[in-house]
């Protein structure tokens, strides 16, 4: 067996399997009331491509929207719990100690449950930011192409 002439081509099998999965998924979405635009397999494939590209570009530093949203304190999820107190130095250190050593162990299960959900929500937000960015890019490119055609 040589690499140049494989007896079984994985790429070809993968392509067939993905086509089959995509066709079944499209049928199911339509059965459940998705837009009739998806009846066209080519439209479906394009939509899937755009969304898949977006989900692979969700790194926080690769996104434009967070830069435009302004003060992060008004929109950014903060999964980490910062234990603090607004009182004076001595009272604050006692209160922080109480919170850390007494309250946190008791509420650990609730904190971890909330933390996990915050992390998931944060991921969904970044995916949505990336989707909007991808669609905005497609839109900008289409506008540019349209403008060129009009000239």
């Amino acid at each position: 067996m040589t690499t140049g002439d494989p007896a079984v081509s994985v790429d070809s099998i993968m392509s067939q399997l993905q086509d089959r999965v995509r066709a079944r998924l499209r049928e199911e979405l339509l059965q459940h009331g998705a837009s009739p635009a998806l009846e066209d397999p080519r439209v479906f494939a394009d939509v899937e491509r755009v969304l898949r590209d977006a989900t692979s570009r969700t790194a926080a530093r690769a996104l434009l929207l967070p830069e435009l949203l302004g003060d992060p304190a008004t929109w950014r999820l903060e999964p980490a719990l910062a234990i603090s107190s607004h009182r004076g130095a001595l009272a604050a250190s006692v209160i922080r100690g109480m919170k850390q050593r007494v309250l946190m162990p008791v509420l650990r299960w609730l904190f971890e449950y909330s933390h996990d959900n915050f992390v998931r929500q944060q991921r969904v937000n970044q995916v949505l930011f990336a989707c909007v960015q991808e669609l905005a890019i497609e839109n900008a490119e289409l506008r540019r192409d349209l403008a060129a055609l009009r000239k």
Binding site: T3, V8, R61
Partner: protein, 398 residues
């Protein structure tokens, strides 16, 4: 050459991927070079608690110098810092604090590098994410070779890495995808560099090893045929929770009947299901027997710099089913023509059904994987790449 291998943990009983990679390379380099391993006293990768005595020892023919860890990892502080630096543009000092908290914090090792680093011709550092490599490498940057073991996880996005990845005098990568990832982060082509992977010893051909069919060879482990095998730590970080979900969905939605066999220590709850069998830690003989009879090996990990389990499966001519969202796994499978990849539950089920229903073709795919290992991952091939890279770095640094 007088070489130092710097790694966060070291020992024959340490199972971690990068640690094992370092040990295997150090032992083979020691055949032709004067090798000293500089490491910590830690054994546990979560707490970094000191377990080995500090000072000099000899492990499998290699000189080892251990330095004590200053303090165990503060898990809560580390978790909070991780949240802080991974989801925002944290300042440099907070990012560096993350590397310090990640540990193992071993200032005595850094002192040794400052005092004696010049005595080594080259120093090889494993895993950029740990204190030993992150803070140690810049001290001897001009004679350093980094084995980044980088994965496409949030840590690779930290800003401070752009400068850090420009410091090493040479790189040893595990896959072309890792080289591409690190080069992208550095913003430049990194040279000199070599993609070396990891070495494996050949297994006897299945039919040379035994005339018995695979099912008979594993009969003592009472696993029903057919089965899908998972090798390694059963852990959320390895994508096992998603594997369980996809596998149960596969069976409940009418996929072909099969059993999922898990061979490795469990670090998370395993669903109670008649078609999921968890064997816990298995010895080498049972591991080989399981690989000998598996219809496919599944690698669900979202982050990998190189999957040794995947190579091991191919070494036994077992076809693979891998997480296609992991660029390294998808790339390895494509180059080897040795398995199928999935990006959703539906694709997982379709790939599994296909391999179960196409016995002959599945066997050919497994053999193609083995041919790839023969071509790329035998020790003589790996070591010739390592030696060539070290010679090149040494020549340039003079």
């Amino acid at each position: 050459m007088k070489l130092a291998c710097v790694v966060h943990r070291y020992g024959a009983d340490i199972a971690g991927g990068s640690e094992a990679h370092c040990r295997q390379l150090a032992e083979r380099l020691a055949a032709h070079h004067e090798v000293t391993v500089l490491t910590t006293c830690a054994k546990d990768y979560v707490t970094w608690a000191n377990a080995y005595p500090p000072g000099r020892s000899r492990v499998n023919g290699v000189d080892v110098v251990r330095f004590p860890v200053r303090r165990p990892r503060r898990l809560k502080v580390f978790a909070d810092l991780t949240d802080e630096v991974f989801d925002s543009r944290a300042p440099t000092e907070r990012q560096e604090a993350w590397f310090r908290e990640n540990g193992p914090e071993t200032p005595a090792l850094l002192d040794h590098l400052r005092a004696h680093g010049a005595e080594y011709e080259l120093l090889l550092f494993w895993s950029y994410r740990y204190y030993t490599a992150y803070f140690g490498l810049p001290i001897v940057a001009g004679r350093s070779v980094l084995v980044p073991t980088a994965e496409e996880d949030p840590a690779i996005g930290l800003d401070v890495l752009e400068d850090y990845f420009k410091k090493p005098a040479g790189f040893l990568f595990l896959t072309p995808e890792e080289e591409e990832l690190v080069s992208r982060r550095a913003g430049t082509r990194l040279a000199p560099a070599a993609v070396i992977g990891a070495g494996l010893d050949p297994m006897p051909e299945p039919h040379e090893a035994s005339a018995e069919p695979p099912a008979a060879r594993r009969s003592d482990s009472s696993i029903p045929d057919p089965y899908l095998l998972y090798l390694g730590r059963v852990d959320r970080n390895k994508g096992c929770h998603t594997l369980f979900e996809y596998f149960e969905q596969h069976l409940s939605e009418g996929g072909l009947d099969t059993t999922l066999v898990l061979a490795g220590p469990a670090k998370m709850p395993i669903p109670v299901h008649p078609r999921i069998t968890a064997l816990g830690f298995v010895d080498d003989a049972l591991r080989d027997a399981l690989l000998g009879g598996a219809r496919a090996l599944v690698v669900p990990s979202p982050y990998e710099s190189l999957s040794l389990a995947l190579l091991e499966g191919w070494n036994h001519s077992v076809p693979a089913i891998v997480n296609g969202d992991c660029a390294v796994l998808a790339g390895q499978v494509r180059r080897a023509n040795g398995g199928l990849s999935y990006r959703s539950a539906r694709e997982f089920s379709a790939a599994l059904d296909w391999l179960l229903a196409h016995d002959r073709e599945a066997h050919v795919i497994g053999s193609q994987g083995r041919a790839y290992v023969d071509r790329e991952y035998r020790w003589p091939t790996v070591m010739s790449r390592v030696d060539a890279l070290l010679a090149e770095v040494c020549r340039r640094s003079r």
